[in-house]
């Protein structure tokens, strides 16, 4: 019976993006003491983890990201009502300044020698948002930039409300048939969306780094297109595909295991 309850608690936590103990009490109709006992047991076994403090504590599946806010922002058809300043970088300067914050993740276990690669990858993805959409944003200028470190995994989510990869590349190569083909081209071929400038190596650089390590993965979604690379690319794909709505621009999720 206890095991069944614990399994139910775990399933609820996995389904939602952060669950408070009070929500479990109401849903399962058992005492708060029992809920907390199960939560302690699941935390000790490494299946879930608590984030936040006091009454704001929420429980999440350990090692999984919480992307609800980010994906909602990227996929909203209308201009998003909420543009949280902690994640939204309205200008390239703000984004570049926040890139440096990745350095603090060495305290969470990210290796010093891997820091240059992680920062440069995030830098290429984020700067692409500005390179391809400056003056062409759908509504909100800038990019969403969020990092989450959980259970030895670093998740980096970067999204924008721009034109999307297909519209950007189809101007240069009209033979690209759709959004899926555009994403593959962006990551695998040298082709600049800003002809006649000689560009187009940033995403190849990112892909090279991702496929070179066992605990790395990336997925990118733009319109109906979705690609993933690296051994953990499938994990990223699953997370991005959770939201049934297509992003209006582009959203990229990087996973970097460091334990």
């Amino acid at each position: 019976m206890k095991t069944q309850t614990k399994s139910r608690i775990f399933r609820i936590i996995r389904k939602r993006d952060g669950t408070r103990p009070i929500e479990l009490v109401k849903k399962l109709r058992i005492t708060a003491q029992a809920i907390h006992r199960h939560l302690r047991s699941l935390t000790t076994s490494g299946k879930i983890e608590a984030r936040g403090r006091g009454p704001k504590t929420r429980y999440y599946v350990a090692g999984a990201p919480c992307l609800d806010k980010a994906l909602r922002w990227c996929a909203s058809i209308r201009k998003p009502a909420e543009n949280p300043g902690e994640f939204l970088c309205e200008t390239r300067d703000i984004f570049t300044a926040r890139l440096g914050h990745i350095g603090s993740l060495t305290k969470a276990g990210l290796k010093e020698e891997e820091l240059p690669l992680v920062i440069s990858m995030a830098g290429e993805i984020g700067n692409n948002c500005f390179d391809h959409n400056l003056g062409n944003w759908r509504d909100v200028p800038g990019c969403w930039f969020e990092t989450q470190a959980t259970a030895g995994r670093l998740w980096i989510c970067i999204g924008d409300r721009g034109q999307g990869v297909f519209r950007s590349l189809a101007r240069v190569d009209p033979s690209i048939p759709d959004e899926q083909a555009a994403l593959v081209t962006a990551f695998e071929k040298i082709l600049s969306g800003r002809f006649p400038e000689n560009r187009g190596n940033g995403l190849k650089f990112v892909r090279n780094i991702i496929v070179a390590g066992e605990k790395r993965g990336l997925a990118c979604r733009s319109g109906a297109g979705l690609v993933d690379y690296g051994p953990l690319g499938g994990d990223c794909r699953v997370e991005l595909a959770r939201d049934p709505h297509h992003p209006v621009g582009t959203v990229t999720l990087i996973l970097w295991g460091f334990k």
């Binding site: 390239r92 570049t96 890139l99 440096g100 350095g103 020698e113 891997e114 820091l115 240059p116 690669l117 920062i119 440069s120 830098g123 290429e124 700067n127 500005f130 390179d131 040298i190 000689n198 560009r199 187009g200 190596n201 940033g202 190849k204 650089f205 090279n208 780094i209």
Partner: protein
């Protein structure tokens, strides 16, 4: 002559920033005839291929490909950036 890139920042990312850095470098550089221009990455945390491509392209256009060299470094972002730039 040596250019210490850490004086342009510890995180060197984006093409606009690379273009700005290249312009600043060219304004100050006064190499002697045939003198090599060495890019020193000591003290730099991270370099992206976009930034490095802008700098290398601008300096090599001005002084010739053989005169602009990158000094050896253990920084993996530099070696990966150079690898992707040279293959494009």
């Amino acid at each position: 002559m040596k250019i210490r890139l850490k004086s342009y920042g510890s995180i060197l990312a984006s093409r606009p920033a690379g273009r700005e850095a290249a312009l600043a470098m060219k304004a100050r550089l006064r190499p002697g005839p045939g003198e090599k221009i060495e890019l020193d990455f000591e003290g730099v945390l991270s370099v992206g291929p976009s930034w490095l491509d802008e700098v290398l392209s601008a300096l090599r256009r001005e002084y010739g490909k053989d005169r602009v060299v990158c000094l050896p470094t253990k920084n993996a972002s530099v070696t990966e950036s150079l690898r992707v730039i040279s293959s494009s």
